[in-house]
């Protein structure tokens, strides 16, 4: 049997985040090609119950690091704990979601383990018993196949790209509690406060549907029509940099090279011209719809479907029509 596939999961408030299901499912798929087991690690406070769910998604072993010290995320605490577990398990590859947590942790682990990190991957493959990773460079303008030069490799997985499997409730993981020997004094950087965004808002990096607005929205209040459209499709509202720089939307909602990379099933661009830096963030969306009054706007070249017209007429009509379909 080959060396295990090690999956770092992510939870918040005792619940797995969607990226964890994606990473576990991909871990299972890779492990099946390698003929190796999946070992998952769960770090948090009050998270024992998650071990069972990890099993449903493909973990053979679930290592649980449960401690009050993990009530808040701490890069140093998480790194130390996960590092120790990786060294014990001696895996072939470590998979970790490329979420804001994963992007923070993965390079630290790689530096400590002196191994390669393929960041923000969009596909993994197994060739001759070795894992190959596909990732993007130059803001999605180039795809690169990379291989690890080190015996161990780490790959972080772009959210919303890897499909999450249907959970199999008959699968069981062996649960192994980990001893956590970290004290508050080990942590030089600590979370003082967690300011959560507006209510139950879905983050655009994880939304299945994004309705995005640009300078064509003319002002902050007009985004209400996008909120309505997004609500019908249970999606989130994104924005171009122009809209963010004008102060109409928060930076957290910005899509593009200096914003977030998103890959929803549906991306509806409203009053967005389609500048290269915007396309960089959304061109891997599965279906792109553009609404723009300028027929020559570059966004139409990337869109699967386009409507040339005034968004203030098209968007409310689209909201009404979609309501009929989804209800």
């Amino acid at each position: 049997m080959s060396k295990p596939v090690f999956v770092v999961t992510e939870q918040r408030d005792g619940l797995f985040r969607k990226v964890s299901f994606e990473a576990l499912s991909e871990g299972r798929r890779i492990a099946d090609s390698l003929g190796s087991p999946v070992v998952a690690i769960i770090v948090g406070s009050g998270v024992e119950a998650l071990a069972e769910t990890a099993g449903h998604y493909g973990a053979d072993r679930a290592l649980v690091a449960d401690s009050d010290i993990f009530i808040n995320y701490s890069a140093e605490g998480y790194t130390k704990t996960i590092l120790k577990a990786i060294q014990q398990v001696d895996p072939e590859i470590v998979l970790i979601p490329a979420s804001s947590m994963g992007k923070d942790l993965a390079p630290r682990l790689a530096a400590r383990l002196d191994c390669g990190l393929a960041a923000d991957c969009i596909a993994l493959a197994v060739d001759n018993g070795r894992v190959l990773a596909k990732r993007t460079m130059y803001a999605n303008k180039i795809l690169a196949d990379v291989q690890f030069n080190s015996t161990l490799g780490i790959a972080s997985l772009r959210p919303n790209i890897f499909p999450a499997a249907q959970p199999d409730t008959s699968r069981k993981a062996t649960v192994e509690p980990l001893k956590v020997d970290i004290s508050q004094t080990d942590l030089k950087a600590v979370v003082k406060e967690l300011i959560s965004g507006a209510g139950e808002k879905i983050d655009i990096s994880e939304a299945n549907v994004i309705v995005a607005g640009g300078r064509g929205m003319k002002g902050p209040d007009q985004f209400k029509i996008l909120e309505k459209l997004a609500a019908v499709l249970k999606g989130a509202v994104g924005a171009s940099r122009s809209a963010v720089d004008s102060g109409w939307r928060q930076h957290a909602d910005q899509v593009g090279q200096t914003g977030k990379t998103v890959a929803p099933d549906i991306y509806i661009a409203c009053g967005i011209s389609g500048a290269i830096q915007h396309l960089a963030g959304m061109s891997s969306s599965k279906c792109i719809v553009a609404i723009n009054k300028d027929p020559d706007a570059p966004i139409f070249q990337r869109a699967d479907y386009g409507i040339v017209g005034d968004l203030f007429e098209v968007v409310p009509k689209l909201t009404d029509e979609l309501k009929k379909v989804v209800e």
């Binding site: 890069a75 979420s99 804001s100 992007k103 923070d104 390079p107 630290r108 790689a110 530096a111 002196d114 191994c115 390669g116 990190l117 960041a119 923000d120 990732r135 460079m137 130059y138 803001a139 303008k141 180039i142 690169a144 196949d145 990379v146 291989q147 690890f148 030069n149 030089k188 950087a189 600590v190 979370v191 003082k192 300011i195 959560s196 879905i202 983050d203 990096s205 930076h251 910005q254 200096t258 290269i276 061109s283 599965k286 279906c287 139409f300 990337r302 699967d304 479907y305 386009g306 409507i307 040339v308 017209g309 007429e313 098209v314 009509k317 689209l318 029509e321 979609l322 379909v325 989804v326």
Partner: protein, 251 residues
Amino acid sequence: MKILVCVKQVPDTETRIKIGSDKKSIDATDINWILNPYDEYAVEEAIQIKEKQGDTIVTVISVGPERSVSALRTAVAMGADEAILVKTDDDAYLDSLAVAKALVSVIKELEFDLILCGKQAVDDDNLQVGPMVAELLELPCVTFIADLKLENGKATAKREIEGGTMVIETSLPAVLTAEKGLNEPRYPALRGIMMAKRKPIDERQLQYIEPKIDVVSVEYPPTRKGGKIVGEGAEAVPELVKLLKEEAKVI
């Protein structure tokens, strides 16, 4: 206070990226090279700290080929005091860990209270070097900061996460990586540009470091088949909904 800022020279975000003849790297001709946009935030933050506190030296460091000197000069023109280039061969391939090790080899000999990096270099989009430098130096690190306050030898930074913001306090020295929104980078003034031209750059040769990741091949992403204009105005909406349901099958 002594602040180090790690900067990289990258292609302008408007540049058309062409794949090189080796099918592993990009064609470096006809590229307009700029200072990595996220590193501009890092440089700006360092200069603002200097302006606020006085008695501060800002040193910019880059690992890269000779042409990287112009990115260092941009940073000096903005207001950085000293510049160090760890010079590589023009076609040298370095992965992030190799870059981090190269930076650390220089940083180890310097005094510093704070290291600033960009969140990401917009060429390889690795998002790695900052936290790797921190880990190799065994320093705390806060990534993707959108706000920074220095007080009583501590730094308080805001870090955006999915659906919220973390407020993180860290002791110094620490490594911080800059997210967009941290500040508004200045345009270098003419005087700064003239001064930067004459600024001596401390150049050192890089010792070979083995990369842990190899790029096997690169390709262009599959082109999307040209967009279909469904129609004009609100009348086109029913047809669009039909296509989304029946052709794209996304609703």
